[in-house]
């Protein structure tokens, strides 16, 4: 190939590969990395209105939760500047805020009314009193149950049941011949799947991940009680293969009428009462169970919008956050799609609105959120913030490994004692390597 041909080929390659850099005609464009769920997708449908109001165009990068977490973590730790807004959760926010990787959100406008954000949400999305992410929607966990099956079993669900009642009800409602499982719970490995559920459950049994010197606590009676109670109940009344079930698998079972009870994210309430559910007319709600020790087994989570410190478009990003997490957006969705479809769990004023109070699961969602406290989630004192997680960078890796051991025990591949012994060793080793002990 002659030099001329080589140059021609190189020019063509550059033009083809670089073409899109000149494609955008807007004065400002912000790029938002977000998670794929119903509320976030709904928001994308409304962003044309934001662009028309402000002249700021919005580009979306939508990814599955775990892929998104890896993607935004890589970008923020290297100051890559690929995103102007990131959708992150309660786990990342305090850690990233402490590292100055996020832009503080303490100067949002008066109309935005930051004081209206639910205190539990604002607390979990702050570090040292500074808000680093604005909640788009928040969730806790609660019991969703079949009122018809409960009635047939001759039982009545209390508003705030105990674990012993739940276990009894689960066994009573189980009807193996008709493929009805008394209870469906997460067992799938992963810190955000089965790991989140069992950690929240362990809080109500008096267990904790670490003592105040960051020593692992899996060798305590409380953890043994938690896992044995869970496994015995699930063996008797849970679905086959529960060790690999996560949110979606249980949602599918519940919607097909195969679960008497399901304890999971409050956001699922709109799914189990929606068009795809075969049992939508007979669903009741109750607080997640306790064990008489002063802590319930519900978690607290929020998907929130944060601005990475590396962005060049802080003002535009703040404008978008005020629009997406403000009261106006909620009213817009309510007007177009009904109050049951507005993003829940973020603002106090939503729960004071009589229209929203008429939504069947609204009050129970609020009560569940208010009963979870990320700064005081365990019976005995613990050194970490978070209900179903400990807000330290090492937690995700450790909890994923620990939940794998637990799932293996649920599946009968090892005993509960073996799983707890391994969890203790894994956690202490990792904490020692990280310099906590």
């Amino acid at each position: 190939m002659s030099l001329k041909s080589t140059l021609r080929a190189a020019t063509a390659l550059s033009l083809i590969t670089a073409g899109s850099a000149f494609a955008d005609g807007h004065s400002a464009t912000i790029t938002i990395a977000t998670v794929n769920n119903g509320d976030m997708i709904r928001m994308q449908g409304y962003t044309d209105g934001f662009t028309a109001e402000t002249g700021i165009a919005v580009e979306w990068v939508t990814l599955e939760e775990n892929v998104l977490r890896q993607r935004v973590t890589t970008d923020i730790t290297t100051n890559g500047g690929q995103f102007d807004i990131m959708t992150i959760g309660m786990y990342e926010t305090p850690i990233w805020g402490a590292n100055d990787w996020l832009v503080p959100l303490n100067d949002l406008s008066a109309e935005y009314d930051a004081a209206d954000i639910l205190p539990a949400m604002a607390g979990g999305l702050s570090h040292d009193g500074t808000l680093y992410a604005a909640p788009f929607y928040g969730e806790s966990s609660m019991i969703m149950y079949r009122t018809d099956l409960m009635e047939a079993a001759g039982l009545e669900m209390p508003e705030a049941p105990s674990w012993s009642f739940i276990a009894k009800a689960a066994r009573e409602m189980t009807d193996r011949e008709n493929d009805i499982n008394g209870i469906c719970l997460r067992g799938k490995a992963g810190w955000g799947e089965g790991g989140a559920f069992i950690t929240a459950m362990s809080n109500s049994f008096g267990a904790r991940w670490f003592d105040e010197e960051w020593n692992a606590q899996f060798d305590t009676r409380e953890w043994s009680d938690t896992l044995n109670f869970y496994k015995n109940m699930m063996d008797d009344a849970g679905p086959a293969g529960f060790a690999t079930n996560g949110f979606n698998e249980n949602l599918s079972l519940f919607n097909q009428g195969k679960c008497g009870m399901w304890i999971d994210a409050t956001v699922a309430a709109s799914f189990v009462t929606g068009d795809d559910s075969t049992v939508a007319d007979s669903v009741g709600f109750a607080l997640a169970p306790d064990n008489g020790m002063g802590k319930r087994s519900n978690w607290l989570w929020a998907w929130a919008l944060a601005i990475p410190a590396g962005t060049q478009q802080v003002d535009e990003a703040k404008q978008f956050i005020e629009w997406a997490t403000g009261k106006g957006y909620i009213e817009q969705v309510a007007a177009n799609e009904g109050w049951a479809n507005v993003p829940p769990g973020a603002r106090t004023s939503l729960y004071e609105n009589p229209n929203y109070q008429a939504v069947p699961f609204a009050q129970m969602t609020l009560d569940s959120i208010l009963s979870a406290n990320p700064n005081d989630s365990t019976v005995d004192p613990s050194p970490y913030v978070g209900v179903q997680f400990a807000a330290i960078p090492e937690f995700a890796g450790i909890a994923t490994e620990v939940s794998q051991e637990f799932s293996a025990a649920y599946a009968g591949q090892q005993s509960i004692e073996e799983a707890l012994e391994k969890a203790q060793a894994i956690t202490n080793e990792a904490m020692e390597a990280a310099g906590y002990r």
Partner: protein, 276 residues
């Protein structure tokens, strides 16, 4: 001497081949079927195979929500250019290793292949930092180079294997007739190795098309290919299997069609040199 095959044996062989073929194709078939179901039918237990209400709603939703054309164009450019660029480097490299081997040729080949054994995530941060420095993040040019580099060992290996099957005497004869190195490569070696080169190109195009780790981690908006398109429909909280299946079907359709039309060439290339 060819063995005679009884009709019964032939029938058995055909049945087994079809069974294996269907087994391999089943996940793709299931994805395509699910893409035409409602979300409710998609999660039905026991699964519904054919007796469901067919709908195009998922395709309509996906096309409304995403700019499919942009993802498709990015995939074509990234997979196509990385494959062509890879071949431009690999053909001379494989030629020298096949026809002018040195003492270290085998070691070099093994070393090249060993780079494929390193987990990609192990070099994510260094590559990401280099991309930031060079301004290559979310650019098609950056991805073309990365995908070309990660597939290069396979291209060189495949071409080396094909070239080894070609008698060196033919190239020597061409040289004696006065062919230059360029003429030898272009007019003698390449035409003889066309089936091998074609199958290498196709295989690498498929590998680049399906590559998900780097394409997800190094892109955002401008250069995101179809792997990012699929990833945007996966959700651990919400039953969107029918929409995910529609997105997957749209992402694999071009490569399936390409594979269908080029299967003769692909099989010929993959069996090149197997029977002398």
């Amino acid at each position: 001497m060819a063995r005679s095959v009884t009709p019964r044996r032939k029938l058995l062989n055909t049945t087994v081949a079809w069974a294996i073929g269907l087994l391999i194709f089943f996940p793709i078939l299931w994805t395509i079927l699910t893409s035409f179901k409602t979300e409710g039918d998609a999660i039905a237990a026991p699964p519904i195979f054919v007796g469901f209400e067919w709908t195009l709603e998922n395709y309509r939703t996906v096309l409304e929500r995403s700019d499919y054309g942009r993802f498709l164009w990015n995939s074509i450019i990234i997979a196509g250019l990385s494959t062509v660029l890879g071949c431009m480097i690999a053909i001379p490299a494989a030629w020298s290793m096949a026809f002018v081997p040195s003492k270290r040729t085998k070691d070099i080949l093994l070393w090249m292949l060993s780079t494929k054994m390193l987990p990609a995530v192990g070099v994510l941060y260094p590559i990401y930092l280099i991309f930031i420095e060079l301004g290559l993040l979310d650019s098609r040019a950056g991805l073309v180079v990365v995908l070309m580099l990660i597939n290069l060992p396979i291209i060189v290996w495949m071409l080396y294997t094909y070239f080894k099957e070609i008698p060196g005497e033919i190239l020597e004869a061409a040289r004696m007739d006065g062919a230059t190195l360029r003429q030898e490569l272009l007019y003698v070696l390449t035409p003889m190795a066309i089936p091998g080169i074609a199958s290498t190109l196709l295989l690498n195009f498929i590998l680049a098309w399906n590559e998900a780790f780097w394409t997800l981690n190094l892109t955002a908006v401008n250069a995101a290919p179809l792997t990012a398109f699929i990833a945007s429909y996966s959700s651990p909280e919400g039953l969107f299997f029918a929409k995910l299946s529609a997105a997957s079907t749209m992402a694999i359709a071009p490569i399936l069609i390409l594979g269908w039309f080029s299967q003769k060439q692909l099989v010929r290339g993959l069996t090149f040199g197997a029977v002398k």
